[in-house]
Every structure is written in C-alpha cells, then in structure tokens.
C-alpha cells in the first residue's frame, strides 16, 4: 500500500519550517530530497569504512570497494544494463554528457550532423555547440509545438546518413513532456546514428529498461533520485565506450604507465580517473534501493494523481496559463499568471514556505519559443500531498492579489 504519511517520515527535511511555515517542497525537478535511509548510508561510510577503493589490500579499502561495486550492480540491475562495466560513475548528468561530447571530438568531421530537441536543458545544448565549433559538425534542432511536444515529422526529415548522434531528454525539465524515445531511437538507428538519452528528469518517475530501448547512451544524476548531489552515471554500450578515448587522465584509469606510453584500463575504470565520490556512489545505490522498495509503478500512479489534482486546482486561478500540456507528462507544472513576473510570485511563495523554481529553468530556448521571461515551476514528488497543492493554490491567489 502507498502511504504518503508513512513515506514522509523517512524525509527529515520535510518537517522543517521556512519563514515560520511548514516547508512545502515543490522543487523536486531540480533536486529531490534525501530519505534517512540514504543519509544513514553516507554517515555509515564515513563512520566505519572510509577508504580509497580498488587499490588497497587492507580491510577498509576492500569493504569500501565492495560497497561501491555493489552500488554499480544496483544501478545496472535497475536500468537493466547488460554488464556492470557499462555503468560509469560520474559527477552527474552534465559531466556524463561532456564525457561523451569530448569522446566524439576526434572522430567528428566537417559536415557531420548532430540532432538535439528544442526542449533540451542547457547542459544538453552547450557541450554539443562547443563540439560543433571545434569539429565543424552541424547542430540540427527538432522543433516543438505550442503544446510542448516534439514535431516528429520534422525529426524524420532531419535524419540522414550524415547524422552521427541524436540527443534528447526523456522528459523535459521545464515542461514535463515525456518524449517518444523509442521512436526517436529506432528512427536514428535506421540511419546508423547513435542516441544519447538524458534521463535526469525521467529517471525519478519512469524506470527505463535500457536494453529494451536499445539506447546507446543514457545519463542521469543521483540527486534527482533521492540520492546525494555530485554523483551520477553514464551508461554506454560497451562496444561504443571501448572506442571512445578516455575523458580525463589520472590514477585508476591506467593499466600501465611509463614516460613513453600509458595503456588504459578496461571499462569502467578507463573513464573513472582519480578517487571518485565513493560515499556518493554507495548512497546512489541505496537511493535506488529505497525507491524500488516503494515501487516505481506505485510512485508513478500516485504522482499522476498529484499532477491531475494540481492541474485541476491551479487552472481554476484566473489568468493562470500552463506551459507544456503534452498528453504524456511527468508531475511538473510550469505556469505564469497574467503578466506577473515569475520572480514576484516565487518571492512571495517563498515567504509562505513554498519552494518553487522560477526563471528559465536552464532551458532558455523554450522560454524564447513562448516569448516569456520564464515560468514558475512546481514539480511534485511521491512524498508530496494533496494538502500541499491546496497550500500552493492559496499561496498563488494571495500573491496575485498583492501584485495586481
């Protein structure tokens, strides 16, 4: 049974106050909160077996290595990945994307084409623009509709033998749109192009089966999934990762080093130079365990109820316009009220202890598309309640009254 009251007790932060009011946390798409179970894992690591991994013969190092590799196995299993060495620990989604962008740098040539979608986060735009500037490759953009869905017929027209890579987010951070990724992947493969799926927004809501999707690369961050900040993952098919040059040089990623020549270690170590975020990696695994114990299907069902309730409640507010009305959405509502600046409403909601995100959400092209300076974004998680949505409604009405 899904009992939100019970679940909320796992999250110590949810009982704090902000400006004298109980915290209402609706900025989950930026960072999800951390349950005590995950916090305990971090504390336990530093209290009992903090040591460097993979190299030590001593007991602590072995325990740390075992826990870290166990976390890799949890991630492997969660995303149905064929081999544990196809899971690369990174500092997060942004680093994962940069790792791939940098890996393609030597092989891309002038006239090659890369395709991104119009609803990408800056972290899935800028690295590719930099790559294009360096290599002479051309960046093509799948446009979006007013409703916030991708124009898939244009995508088909953009694909050609010149297409090397396609990057899309599974879910848009600013709009919540769930993109038709299977179709995107299959069509790209028809032209021999590889696909990188940005799972940062989708992974907390949708359990992706990466082998079934047959996606080439997948990236996400632990802090979107009830895990700590500063750690994330890159999945790549091993035949592809083996071809890519290393991202950073250092310890751990080598097989042999002489001053004449260094040979690189096998996957995953080739891409994991230096001492990693060990506690973070272990806690990432614990966070996935935590969410799986609740169950992603239950989470999705409950969040869909929250979204339907919130959409219904908020659209009753006069002048409130929702951006992103795709039929398939995660629990995100991006909106504005009349011509009121999002910053004004966000500031007043903060006074009431309600945490929302305001601004362009690192997706300026979307804001330009709608010709707005930004939106207010309320993003829900499985630990949010219907009562909190009521508080949001009251808060918005109060803010609008003050600002008009």
């Amino acid at each position: 049974m899904f009992d939100v009251k019970h679940i909320r007790k796992d999250f110590p932060i949810l009982s704090r106050e902000v400006n004298g009011n109980p915290l209402v946390y609706f900025d989950n798409a930026a960072t999800s909160q951390t349950p005590q179970q995950v916090i305990d894992v971090i504390v336990d690591y530093y209290s009992r077996y903090n040591a460097n991994i993979h190299r030590g013969v001593h007991r602590l190092s072995q325990e740390a290595t075992e826990a870290y590799e166990n976390a890799r196995a949890i991630i492997q299993k969660h995303f149905n990945i064929a081999h544990p060495y196809e899971v690369i620990f990174t500092s997060g989604t942004t680093e994962s994307i940069n790792l791939i962008a940098s890996g393609y740098s030597p092989s891309l040539k002038k006239g090659d084409e890369l395709i991104i979608s119009a609803m990408e986060h800056h972290s899935n735009i800028v690295p590719w623009q930099m790559l294009c500037e360096k290599t002479g490759a051309v960046l093509k953009v799948i446009p979006m509709t007013e409703q916030g869905t991708l124009e898939m017929n244009v995508y088909e027209d953009l694909l050609s033998e010149r297409t090397q890579l396609v990057f899309v987010n599974h879910v848009s951070n600013a709009l919540g749109t769930v993109n038709p990724i299977q179709e995107i992947i299959d069509k790209a493969h028809g032209f021999g192009a590889k696909v990188l799926l940005d799972g940062a927004q989708a992974s907390p809501h949708i359990k992706a089966d990466l082998q079934a999707l047959d996606v080439d690369y997948y990236v996400t961050s632990a802090h979107k999934l009830c895990g700590p900040t500063g750690v994330g993952m890159l999945y790549g098919k091993s035949v592809l990762l083996n071809e890519l040059p290393p991202y950073q040089g250092g310890g751990e990623m080598i097989a042999t080093v002489t001053f004449e020549k260094t040979t690189y270690a096998d996957l995953p170590h080739k891409f994991e130079a230096g001492t990693p975020n060990i506690a973070g990696g272990i806690a990432f695994g614990a966070a996935l365990d935590y969410m799986n114990a609740i169950g992603f299907e239950k989470i999705a069902t409950y969040e869909a109820e929250l979204l339907a309730y919130a959409t219904n409640t908020l659209t009753k507010i006069e002048g409130l316009k929702i951006y992103g009305e795709a039929p398939q959405k995660t629990a995100v509502i991006s909106f504005n009220v009349g011509r009121i600046h999002p910053y004004d409403i966000g500031s007043i909601l903060d006074q009431m202890g309600i945490a929302v995100r305001t601004g362009h959400h690192c997706a300026q092209p979307i804001m330009d598309f709608y010709k707005i300076p930004g939106t207010i974004r309320a993003s829900f998680s499985f630990y949010n309640t219907f009562e909190e949505i009521d508080l949001l409604e009251v808060g918005i009405r109060k803010a609008v009254k003050m600002l008009q």
Binding site: N19, I340, H341, P342, Y343, D344, S347, I348, D350, Q351, T358, G359, H360, P373, G374, M402, L403
Partner: protein
C-alpha cells in the same frame, strides 16, 4: 539635504512598523510604483543589468556634484527594492555613495533579495551604482 545615513534610518523606521512580511511586501510593491522610471532612450541593452531572472535597467546623470538615478525592472518586487535604493542614493555626492554601506537592507528584512545567490540583478545593481559614483567622482576631481 538628507544624508545617506539619515535616509537609511528613516527607511528602517518605516519598515519597523510592519508586523509581518505581507505588510512589508505590500509596502515595497507600493514603493515600486513611485520609482523614477528610466527614460525610454536609456532603457537599452547597454544599461541592462543582467540578473538570472528579473531584468534591471539603471541610468545615472551628474547634476552639479550630485548623481541622480533612474531605473526600471520587469518584476514588481525588484522595482520596489530599486526604489528603496534610489531613494537612498539619488541626489547624493559621488564620494558619499562610494563610502556608504548597504547594511540597512538586512535591517528591513529584505536581506534575501540581496543575497548573491538570489540572482535577481540587485547585487549587480548596487555594484553599478557604486561604479557610477567612482566614475563621476573622477570627473569631479
């Protein structure tokens, strides 16, 4: 003429009468309506102070030995805070502006708006006001 310190004291006193944040914010919104609005010809990209979220435009002119500021913003609360800053710093001598402090913002309970993490352009705006003061002071010397 009121000194910067005297005006700041006056504002602190006004804000001390409010019982809760709502009254404070409502007052700020009202102050925003009194903002000496920047002339359209100065509302250019050059005069824009880019924060992450709300835009702020500011223009300064030297009249004899005093600077007068005009400004605007696309967010109402930001406008209110600018209005407070302009009330403090407009029609003052560049040297006095350079040497002044902005601690009063903290005392009127608006510190969070001036936190560098807030990214609303106000921190840059204060910097800009002081830069104008430095520039005009050089002219006066």
């Amino acid at each position: 003429m009121n000194t910067i310190e005297a005006i700041q004291e006056e504002i602190i006193e006004e804000f001390s009468m409010f019982e809760d944040w709502m009254q404070r914010y409502e007052y700020m919104i009202d102050l925003g309506k009194l903002l000496p609005i920047i002339a359209p010809e100065y509302k250019t990209d050059v005069n824009i102070i880019k924060g992450c979220q709300s835009k702020v435009w500011v223009h300064a002119e030297l009249h004899e030995d005093q600077i007068s500021f005009t400004a605007d913003s696309d967010a109402i609360i930001t406008k209110g805070i600018i209005a407070i800053l302009i009330r403090v710093f407009s029609n003052q001598h560049p040297k006095d502006i350079m040497e002044s402090s902005t601690d009063f913002i903290d005392k009127i309970g608006l510190k969070e708006h001036l936190s560098p993490t807030r990214a609303n352009g106000l921190v840059s705006m204060i910097k800009q006001i002081k830069m104008y003061a430095v520039a005009f002071q050089t002219q006066l010397n």
